[in-house]
């Protein structure tokens, strides 16, 4: 018998439309909602620049609706809860985003996101839309071993790709250059997540999996997919000491490297806990001779009310640092 959680929604079948209506009403200066349920920039980018599109399941807010805006993405096609949108809707998003210089469809690697993006690209070919490409992004080291990186899942660390790719596509680079930049950030990014609790499906209210109170799971995916396994819950310091070394070894991040750090809140972890965790991250990185360029702590890609976090590192050079510092104006990602 699994526990039920009461969520403040209206009818379960209206979760997506109610959420998008509320979001776009609140941030009407940044985004607008089309009749087809696409979230676009309120003011489109100038013609002649590569446009960025992402389709993804909902339930991970502020990802990705919060990332539509200047210096970020052009269009988000939000699917149902934890369900990638179908190819027709992705095609609509591609058409809505196109500014005459090509469209890059970004895929956070999960089966549904990938398959529907592939189908959408086939529809583009059938309609003669030729300047459209896709890039598959992944960062979670727990989902496939080193050497099989393309099998890995996309998780919170794609944060770095979204920001820097968004900045890149405000410039003059073409579609191929945009894809190459996305791959460069991806290939310098590694993440590992952990969770102390499950979350409930907003549709059914049922808890998605059972998690004993005194245990934690390392390597949890964005939908509560299993990771490396369960173990006794540890303190903050011990948890970081367990999670950071495999991240560092995987790239590997080495002494002298400069990195961006993200501590992403999966849902109901407190900022207090995240700051305590970050203290240990900073200590261990300093010990390893790795310089932190900038850090971000907060809920950027969530899994409902799951209590957990993801630790993500991205190695940066001068090009990436400049893109990181470029202005961005999304509802939930601002950089001045």
């Amino acid at each position: 018998m699994s526990a039920r959680v009461h969520k403040l929604i209206n009818q379960p079948e209206n979760i997506l439309s109610d959420m998008l209506d509320g979001f776009c009403a609140a941030y009407g200066d940044i985004v607008r909602l089309t009749d087809e349920g696409l979230v676009l920039r309120a003011t489109p980018k100038a013609p002649g620049k590569v446009a960025l599109v992402i389709g993804c399941g909902s339930g991970h807010e502020p990802a990705m609706i919060g990332w539509i805006g200047q210096g970020l993405f052009d269009v988000n096609i939000a699917g149902e809860i934890f369900t990638a949108p179908g190819p027709d809707r992705i095609l609509q998003g591609i058409k809505a985003a196109d500014r005459g210089a090509g469209v890059l469809v970004c895929v956070s690697h999960h089966a549904g996101d990938l398959l529907n993006a592939e189908l959408a690209l086939e529809l583009c070919q059938m309609e003669g839309l030729s300047n459209v490409d896709m890039v598959v992004l992944y960062d979670d080291i727990s989902s496939a071993p080193k050497g099989r990186e393309p099998e890995r899942r996309g998780t919170a660390g794609l944060f770095f790709v979204w920001k820097m790719l968004g900045a890149f596509c405000e410039g003059e680079g073409d579609l191929a250059a945009a894809k190459a930049l996305a791959e460069k950030v991806r290939d310098n990014t590694r993440s590992l997540a952990m969770s102390l609790s499950s979350c409930a499906s907003p549709i059914t209210g049922e808890v998605m999996f059972e998690m004993p109170e005194d245990e934690m799971e390392i390597g949890m995916g964005l939908h509560g997919e299993m990771g490396m396994g369960r173990q006794k819950a540890l303190g903050a310091r011990e948890t970081i000491d367990l999670m950071l070394p495999p991240i560092l070894e995987d790239l590997p991040f080495q002494a002298g490297d400069e990195v961006l750090v993200l501590l992403n809140n999966s849902g109901s972890m407190t900022l207090m806990e995240l700051f305590i965790l970050y203290k240990r991250v900073a200590e261990k990185l300093a010990e390893a001779g790795i310089r932190v360029y900038k850090s971000w702590i907060g809920p950027y890609a969530t899994t409902q009310e799951m209590a957990g976090f993801a630790l993500s590192l991205c190695r940066v050079d001068d090009e990436l640092k400049a893109l990181w510092d470029a202005p961005a104006d999304g509802a939930y990602m601002k950089q001045r």
Binding site: A84, G112, L119, H223, M226, G227
Partner: protein
């Protein structure tokens, strides 16, 4: 009866939709163990949409019925399931394009194209704990009989056995892959849906022909 037309195909989509709607909760439960627990709800809603869309087609050819079903599943469901079940119907469209009536050989081609399409799209083979574990044996069994009634019966049985075989497998594709050995003991919801589809088609054929072949 050795050939089928558009009225039969419409009724087949309706039969599948009905069988899946009846199994909505069972499919949700299977998916809760391996995925996020919504497979029954989403696929029954998508087939309901397919039935409505197909009913609205004026005088459709067989391929148009299959194309409309494919689009309803892909766009009504989304996710990996939408793409894969959509592909199942979509890839059959070219195999029957232009035909008014379908004989046994056409149906063989239809299912062979569907199977090849699903395997290519999902990069899955037999033994990966996916819908292919039910679909491939069903398609092979269907092709092995010249008589349509015998073929449906054999396909339904093969799909059911295939779906049951997924219980002991470790998933190598999709979200369940990350469960590893922890997925053993749970039957794959996609394979189960395929078994329900072929069961519905077999039942439809027997009722329609009243046991005659």
């Amino acid at each position: 009866m050795s050939e089928i037309g558009s009225d039969n195909l419409k009724a087949m989509v309706l039969a599948i939709a009905g069988r899946i709607a009846d199994s909505r909760e069972q499919l949700n439960r299977l998916d809760a163990a391996l995925g996020d627990g919504d497979h029954g709800a989403s696929i029954s809603a998508a087939f309901e949409k397919a039935v409505a869309e197909v009913a609205g087609l004026p005088d459709p050819k067989p391929s148009e019925i299959w194309l409309t079903t494919a689009q309803s599943l892909m766009n009504g469901m989304g996710g990996a399931s939408g793409a894969l079940f959509g592909t199942l119907f979509l890839k059959g469209v070219a195999a029957i394009h232009g035909k008014e009536r379908l004989g046994k050989a056409d149906l063989n081609k239809l299912w062979a194209a569907s199977l090849a399409g699903v395997k290519a799209r999902g990069k899955a083979e037999i033994g990966d704990k996916t819908m292919v574990d039910a679909l491939e044996p069903a398609v092979l069994a269907f092709a092995a009989y010249d008589n349509i009634a015998d073929a449906w019966a054999a396909a339904a049985e093969a799909a059911s056995n295939g779906a049951e075989s997924t219980r002991e497998l470790i998933a190598r594709q999709g979200r369940a892959k990350y469960l590893g050995e922890r997925g053993i003991g749970h039957q794959d919801p996609g394979a189960t849906t395929i078994a329900l589809m072929f069961e519905a088609l077999d039942n439809y054929w027997r009722e329609m022909t009243n046991g005659k072949t």
